[in-house]
């Protein structure tokens, strides 16, 4: 078990090279609606290190959920490149997982069966399969609830089960689309801490979309701030703090103010002008 005193360094800085590096280059997505072409994502460039936790925040319409769906392969119509460990992604794959905002557990299966179903197309011997299921239920703290049906679980528990299901394949990268959005405020804070612990134990690269700036800063090594219509990366903020995080940290508060300022800034006029929002890829360094 993780020794809480053994604080985790920001990802990618130490240790042997691991899998789970995501590279997004020149990613754009347009789609046509009643004759007009709408740009959902415009020239997204992002490099994610193995084992990193990246949070993405932005107002509605900035395409953040679309971005996740493209990474995971539920949507394959785009321009540009998405690479996982230097291989282009094509369609869905067990090495890329996704947790939805609504847990999407199959109501007719128990929690254990839901987790098991993720392993369906991996030919594994029964013993190994059962071990994986047990391990991941323990990871999310649901060992005692394997035989429960989803309707018997609380929102937080159901979402944890969904996380277990998403991780049981040991994917190289896990996308989370507003995973805690459906939970009430108190449960949310608890599950955030849980999610951080799970990530520290599993070590999987995670990309999380959220509306909650606090959450993004608490969990992320970096926070990508997006602007809407069309969806672009406005800014990437480094969070140079070790894990597990202390919510009271003054750095977190300062960064939150910065990001909120960014998000609430008046959007520039897009029609007709060629002025594009500067997409700075350099990190903003906090004054030491």
């Amino acid at each position: 078990m993780t020794d809480p005193r053994h604080l985790r360094e920001p990802a990618g800085t130490t240790g042997p090279s691991r899998t789970g590096a995501v590279r997004i280059a020149g990613l754009s997505k347009r789609y046509a609606m009643s004759g007009k072409s709408m740009t959902v994502l415009d020239d997204i460039n992002l490099s994610i290190r193995p084992g990193e936790f990246v949070s993405i925040v932005g107002p509605s319409g900035c395409g953040k959920s679309t971005l996740l769906r493209l990474i995971v392969g539920l949507d394959t119509d785009y321009d540009g490149e998405i690479r996982l460990d230097d291989t282009r992604v094509a369609g869905t794959g067990l090495e890329r997982g996704l947790v939805f905002q609504d847990h999407r557990l199959f109501p007719w299966m128990t929690v254990a069966q839901n987790v098991e179903v993720a392993l369906l197309n991996q030919k594994l011997p029964k013993e190994r399969r059962e071990r994986l299921i047990a391990e991941h239920l323990a990871l999310v703290g649901l060992s005692d609830f394997g035989e429960a049906y989803p309707h018997q679980l609380s929102g937080g528990m159901a979402q944890r089960a969904a996380i277990a299901r998403a991780l049981v394949n040991e994917p190289r990268v896990l996308a989370l689309d507003e995973p805690l959005g459906a939970l009430d405020a108190l449960t949310r804070v608890k599950v955030q801490a849980e999610l951080q612990r799970i990530w520290m134990e599993a070590g999987t690269t995670m990309i999380m979309v959220t509306h909650d700036v606090d959450e993004a800063l608490f969990l992320g090594d970096r926070v990508v701030v997006m602007s809407p219509r069309p969806g672009r990366i406005a800014r990437v903020v480094d969070v140079d703090l070790p894990h597990p995080r202390d919510r009271a940290s003054p750095l977190l508060h300062r960064l939150k103010d910065e990001i909120l300022g960014e998000l609430t800034r008046e959007p520039r006029e897009e029609d007709g002008t060629l002025v594009s929002f500067p997409a700075r890829s350099s990190h903003s360094r906090s004054p030491s």
Partner: protein, 256 residues
């Protein structure tokens, strides 16, 4: 008076009043006794019919007819509904035909079926199966359409083949509505069985017995049969509800 006591006594008051009025009517002379059979006569007939096996014979015959028809009509209905859900062209052809046919009441088919297939048990079974067919096919079709796109996406994430998707997502998704269809079909089949037995001269069955009793002016026997029909219909529905709760125990209780 405590609330519970009041509820029970009021509940019994109404039937008691009715029975009292009935008994009074039956004593108003021979003409009235024709229709208002004395209560103890009804009770005696019930015991008689029970002991000499007639009740069991007729009730059993009706039950067998209804359940067989449910099996036939229900399975064809489910199969058709699934086919309609899986295959668009079939839905476009079969759908309008089923909807149009449904406009004609089952008993409307009766003279037609009688002319084509005669009066035998086969014809009766056909009619009752038809009444079981409609609710199953319509609900199964709706059930297939109700498959949530959201859950289908989960299947895509884990590389489900089309077969796996059908088995693990589409089928369980559709089951609640399919069960609804079957429970409606059960109710309809029971009603249609009695109806068909009333209108056709049948060999055995509660409906047949009721008609025979009516012709023989035996109100007491008719009443026993009516009660039997009601009780059995109720029991069938309750049993099915229990079965459904057991098989679909993953569903939240209604009201959650």
């Amino acid at each position: 008076m405590s609330l519970r006591l009041r509820s029970v006594s009021l509940a019994l008051l109404f039937p008691a009043l009715v029975l009292g009025w009935w008994e009074w009517e039956s004593r108003q002379g021979a003409g009235h006794a024709y229709a208002f059979a004395p209560l103890e006569q009804v009770a005696r007939s019930f015991v008689e019919m029970l002991l000499d096996g007639r009740l069991l014979l007729h009730a059993g015959a009706s039950l067998q007819r209804a359940l067989t028809a449910l099996l036939i009509g229900g399975s064809i209905g489910i199969a058709t509904g699934i086919a309609m859900g899986l295959w668009r062209p079939f839905d476009r052809t079969a759908g309008p035909i089923v909807t149009t046919m449904r406009q004609v009441p089952i008993l409307g088919w009766l003279p037609l079926v009688a002319l084509w297939f005669g009066n035998g048990d086969g014809a009766k079974l056909l009619l009752v199966s038809l009444s079981a067919f409609y609710p199953t096919v319509l609900n199964t079709q709706k059930g297939m359409q109700a498959v949530e796109g959201k859950l289908a996406e989960v299947g895509r994430l884990y590389g489900f083949t089309r077969l796996q998707s059908l088995r693990l997502i589409a089928w369980p998704s559709a089951l609640p509505l399919i069960f609804t269809g079957i429970s409606q079909a059960l109710a309809f089949a029971w009603i249609a069985t009695i109806g068909v037995e009333l209108l056709f001269s049948a060999t055995a069955g509660l409906g047949t017995e009721m008609m025979a009793a009516q012709v023989a002016a035996r109100t007491d026997v008719v009443l026993v049969c009516v009660a039997c029909v009601g009780v059995m219909g109720f029991a069938l529905n309750q049993l099915f509800a229990l079965l459904r709760a057991r098989l679909l125990r993953w569903q939240p209780a209604p009201g959650n």
